[in-house]
């Protein structure tokens, strides 16, 4: 049933693209929606208020800062990028309402960095029916790589399943024989991860699910620790959001188990600055924690991208502390600028999608992972490096500053490959010239 629905959706989507392409090619003189001679208008939905907002609400500001920097340096072929930011409070119904506004009223050219799995799911029909490019969605749900269901959508970040698969290989390499436990959020996020660990063949002495809502309940984290002790675990994988991760770190520390239970964090909850802020005086709890990342450490002063983004942040986003969220936002913005440039001097939505599919894999990006975009795949990053956090919350590569060992794979069941990370050099002054 699922398969037949997908095929139907696929035919429909293919037809839509064909029509869109026809229309686009038939009316070359007509300016594309959201593009004028002097501007390109983009839209993003993200929680700016509500329980999910902290951290994520820094992303749009960082993107704007980078766009402002590019605009100040000539824009994209003379056009200035405008980013319309809409708060959805993490509610899919609100996401749809404000995305209606973005697409039908503000008439944006494309959506960029829209956040949340259910949130993006809720706008899919609208996005598909208007063939609006939806670039670099901020979710690790593996489903969005399905080109038939989501023909205009490009996930950039690796899926949770990929992450878990990679982590499984890392565990096999470095933690063989250890008693590993897993704590995961019991939704798509955690379940996707379990799929990945199953592919990797990782065995756990305990699997502890937690409800996405319960992380701020003070009861939760101490209970995890009692469960870890009961299972005699010496290593724990945490696949949770930042606040839950902080709660776990705090509880392990409070129970005097720091150094006795090794924490390994998934990328979602591993932003050191946020963790440090959440833990306050308990920040020493972070020392020695291993975290998986696809972007370089936000504190790596030797990284050319980080250095540049930091200076842009200081100039165009004054008052915001540079952290993984800002890095994420700027990196997404940089990818976006390259995509817009690749769409040419008379950009259309169809050209934009084509440009990412054909050229996206070559673009400069802060990530240490290769980009797998192609005409047959909408999967972006698939690689991670593993670093150790200090008590200051900063992740440090075991290979020393600026050197990273990357575990990468494909989005399916292919093997995980370990290699020194290499990525395209940053264009001069961080201004894409592709």
């Amino acid at each position: 049933m699922l398969a037949s629905r997908r095929t139907k959706g696929g035919i429909f989507a293919a037809a839509t693209i064909a029509v869109a392409a026809l229309v686009a090619s038939a009316l070359p003189a007509q300016a594309e929606t959201g593009v004028t001679s002097s501007t390109i208008k983009l839209g993003i939905t993200v929680p700016l208020t509500g329980a999910a907002a902290p951290g994520y609400n820094k992303i749009p500001g960082a993107m704007k800062a980078y766009f402002d920097y590019v605009n100040a340096n000539g824009g994209v072929y003379g056009r200035k990028i405008q980013l319309v930011v809409k708060d959805d409070g993490y509610s899919p119904a609100t996401t749809l309402s404000v995305t209606n506004d973005l697409i039908l009223k503000d008439k944006v050219f494309a959506l960029v960095g829209t956040l949340g799995t259910a949130n993006n799911e809720a706008t899919t029909r609208l996005v598909n029916s208007h063939s609006v490019p939806r670039l670099f969605v901020n979710t690790g749900f593996s489903g969005f790589a399905d080109m038939k269901k989501y023909p205009t959508t490009f996930p950039l970040f690796p899926s949770y399943a990929t992450e878990a698969k990679v982590m499984g290989k890392y565990l096999a390499d470095n933690f063989a024989g250890k008693k590993v436990a897993l704590i995961y959020q019991d939704d798509d996020f955690g379940l996707d991860a379990i799929k990945g660990f199953t592919t990797a063949g990782t065995n756990f002495v305990a699997k502890i699910p937690y409800s996405a809502f319960s992380q701020v309940d003070p009861t939760t984290a101490p209970k995890w620790v009692t469960a870890l002790v009961a299972a005699q675990a010496d290593t724990v994988i945490m696949f949770g959001v930042t606040s839950a991760t902080a709660a776990l770190a705090g509880a392990i520390y409070k129970a005097g188990l720091l150094g006795k239970i090794q924490m390994i964090l998934g990328s979602v909850g591993s932003d050191g600055t946020t963790l440090k802020g959440l833990l306050g005086p308990l920040a020493p709890a972070l020392a020695g924690t291993i975290s998986a990342s696809f972007l370089p450490s936000a504190s790596d002063a030797t990284d050319e991208y980080i250095t540049l983004f930091k200076s842009i942040n200081a100039q165009y986003n004054a008052g915001q502390v540079f952290d993984n969220n800002i890095l994420t936002g700027m990196n997404t913005a940089m990818m976006t600028v390259q995509a817009l440039r690749a769409a040419g001097t008379t950009p259309t939505r169809a050209k934009l999608i084509k440009a990412i599919e054909t050229k996206g894999s070559t673009w400069a990006s802060a990530s240490l992972s290769p980009i797998l975009f192609s005409a047959t795949s909408h999967v972006g990053y698939t690689g991670y490096w593993f670093g150790k956090l200090g008590a200051d919350g900063n992740a440090v590569s075991a290979d020393g500053p600026g050197k990273y060992t990357l575990y990468s794979t494909d989005s399916g069941s292919g093997p995980v490959v370990k290699a020194a990370a290499a990525r395209p050099a940053m264009p001069a002054k961080g201004l894409p010239t592709n």
Binding site: M1, L48, Y90, S91, P92, L96, S97, R125
Partner: protein
Amino acid sequence: MKHKSPLQRFALSIVVGAVLLLASGHIDELRAYQGAQIAIFAIAIASIVLLTGYSGQISLGHGALMAIGGYASVIAQIHWHLPYPLAFIVGTAIGALAGFLLGIAAARLRGPYLAGTTLALAVGLPSLANQFHILGGEQGLTFDVGTAPPWIGKEFSQYRWFFWVCVTAALAIFWLLRNLLSTRYGRRWRAVRSNPTAAALSGIDVGRAKVLAFTLSSAVAGLAGSLFAMLLGLVAPLAFTLTLSFTLVTGAVLAGVSNLGGSIVGAVVLVAIPELSGSIAAHLGGSEKVTSNLPGVITGVLLILTVLFAPNGPKLPHRKR
């Protein structure tokens, strides 16, 4: 409206419906979407008015009942391969069943105890979706009703079609409820609300009347949930949060609680307030901290002022208190 016969009301619904649906050809997609939203909210608010306004029971959990209806419809489509109009009926029926069960427990509870129980339901129920694989977890299940049928016309946008479906459903529900409330059931519920003891003395089975009201209210909420799922294109726990339940009760109070016609006004206000506060905030501007929170401030103030200055909802003609 009290003095009209069912047939007259039916004719009225048809006329209103025809006008609205013809009008839909002249409004843009955005307004069509909002129109559909209003129709769904109106149905959901009517379900609360039925419960609170007519039988005196308070529910803070109608968002959860909408979730039940929505999930039931989607599962009916995905697993039982039912065409979506039938899926809506399944959503309504399962909503009724849930309401019946809840109603049995609720009939024993009064005021704040019922409010607390339904609140716990509103918080607890959506998280169940993560427990059972069939419910699709956090990202939910998609609900695809497709585009407008070909016989209705070619240039029929998705949202215009949703507008048609939702408005038709709303008119049908309002017609049914109006007629129902003028029968002896309606009179019984009013008697139960205004004085349960007197109602019991005059031979009304208060418990049964309350359970029936809860069942019916949940059925209507279930339908609203099915339509909501259609509009969103999915069901997911995040779509049916406590906030939704609170929003519906707010709409019911803005509607005047005991005023079925007011439901429409309440629904319009619910859709208008975020838009209004959003545009006020956009005009005022300020730093990002300010602009992102300004709509919330304005919504809060508007809500407080509305409740303070029009606590009994809009003054509608034809109504005696």
